[in-house]
């Protein structure tokens, strides 16, 4: 049997359509970072245990390290770079600061990070979580946020401020992008 070990895929990332040839082994995470030069999505454990690689795939939060890029034909992916009004690869003068997503604003306001490595995953996860909770009609108090965000680890232990930031956004009634 013929063995084709690469595949051609078309997918939309942060609103832009890309046609790519991928090795079938390539994960969505590695494709984003290495082929599309979007390094915001982080490789933490690479085994789906830490959540640093969280992105929104067709609007739902997923671990991009456990998804093969070849399975993403016709998918729409949003990474942390796509949440703000400007991609992070564009340099902005301080006075032209990109308009951040409300979750990003809240992370800044609450100092919800220390080293920052888990932060893109935390933010993408929180954006997905707020939509899930809104769809279910769930009330987001602190224990509920902690349970729903348990797929995102922070080895610095910035959880207190992460929860506060998300609670703040939830209280504003801001769900989706």
């Amino acid at each position: 049997m013929e063995r084709q070990l690469t595949s051609d895929i078309t997918l939309c990332v942060n609103g832009r359509t890309n046609e790519l040839r991928v090795d079938n082994r390539t994960t969505l995470l590695d494709m984003l970072r290495e082929q599309l030069s979007l390094p915001g999505t982080k490789r933490g454990c690479d085994h789906g245990q830490c959540g640093a690689c969280t992105v929104l795939l067709d609007g739902r939060r997923v671990n991009s390290c456990l998804i093969l890029a070849v399975t993403c034909q016709d998918a729409a992916v949003t990474t942390v770079e796509g949440l703000s009004s400007r991609t992070s690869t564009q340099l902005a003068a301080p006075q032209e600061r990109p308009a951040l997503h409300p979750v990003q604003e809240a992370f800044v306001a609450h100092d919800a990070l220390q080293c920052g490595f888990c932060t893109p995953g935390q933010i993408c996860s929180a954006v997905g979580m707020l939509e899930e909770a809104a769809a279910e009609g769930a009330t987001l108090d602190e224990p509920e946020i902690r349970e729903r965000m348990s797929g995102n680890l922070c080895r610095c232990g910035a959880y207190v401020n992460i929860v506060a930031a998300i609670e703040d956004v939830a209280a504003q009634g801001v769900g989706a992008r």
């Binding site: 079938n24 093969l68 729903r148 797929g151």
Partner: protein, 334 residues
Amino acid sequence: MKPFAYQRPDAAGTAVSTVAHAGAAFLAGGTNLVDLMKLGVTAPDLLVDVTGLPLRQIEPLPDGGMRVGALTANSDLATDPVLRTRFPAVALALLSGASAQLRNRATIGGNLLQRTRCRYFVDVTKACNKRQPGDGCDARDGEHRDLAVFGTQTPGGGPAPCVATNPSDLAVALVLLDARVELLTPDGTAQMSVHELFRLPGDRPDLDTNLPPGALITAVVLPPSPIARTSTYRKVRDRSSFAFAAGSVAAALDVADGTVRDVRLAYGAVAHRPWRAYAAERALRGAPATVDSFERAADEELGAARPLRDNEYKLPLIRNLTVGVLRGMTEASW
């Protein structure tokens, strides 16, 4: 990772006939399979992606049961309002498993076929009869506090070749509720109970299930049952979320006039298969719904356990969980 070919058929028959080739494997959500491929535990030559198949419907059946397409995401089933009313243990079990990100991607069929998280199975430098039959089992004398307490001996009393546990929470709730899986095999459609789907290691520790070779799970069917509406699931783990169970209990109970009319019990993280506690159920039917009865029933079941050196703690854990869950359900029905 070894290079592999990839196909995404749009008909279930094509998927099944393609996987009939040696070295091929079904791919659904991939949250376990892709990880095992990274770790070198499994190395298929061909992945047959089944996510293009129309197997995502959640159908409430007129008889009070439900049929769930095998490709339904764990999160979609867990939040289904009909499921939450008719079969709450299933929703609770799903929500106690993994993280929200994983539940969004992982499918119901894939959940049932996920492999054990025994650390010796996922570490290719260690001896493991499940990965390589005849290799030995480093878990038996190693770090095994997460592993089995039932089925750790052969019927003759010797050491079983594998002491791994089935990691699925969902499977425990499905075994409790007498759920069935619908299959498509190279020979046509078939079905089997979820209880019969799983097995003890026997002399084939490499096999987690009794699935016919090349079979694709197409749906899970939950039969109608009034007692299922009372069902619940409680899980104990090393941290409060996003961890595999140290032990779990699924239960359903019907009490009238202080007497147990009907009861179902199943345990998770105690054996190579989800453990339906038939002995405890027999001991409880017709007995007074008291803590004494619950304790005796748990002891009846746990008498058959043969814990390993470092996991004897699971016996009081399961006993306390059994009593706590049944007591809670009894008080709720007052």
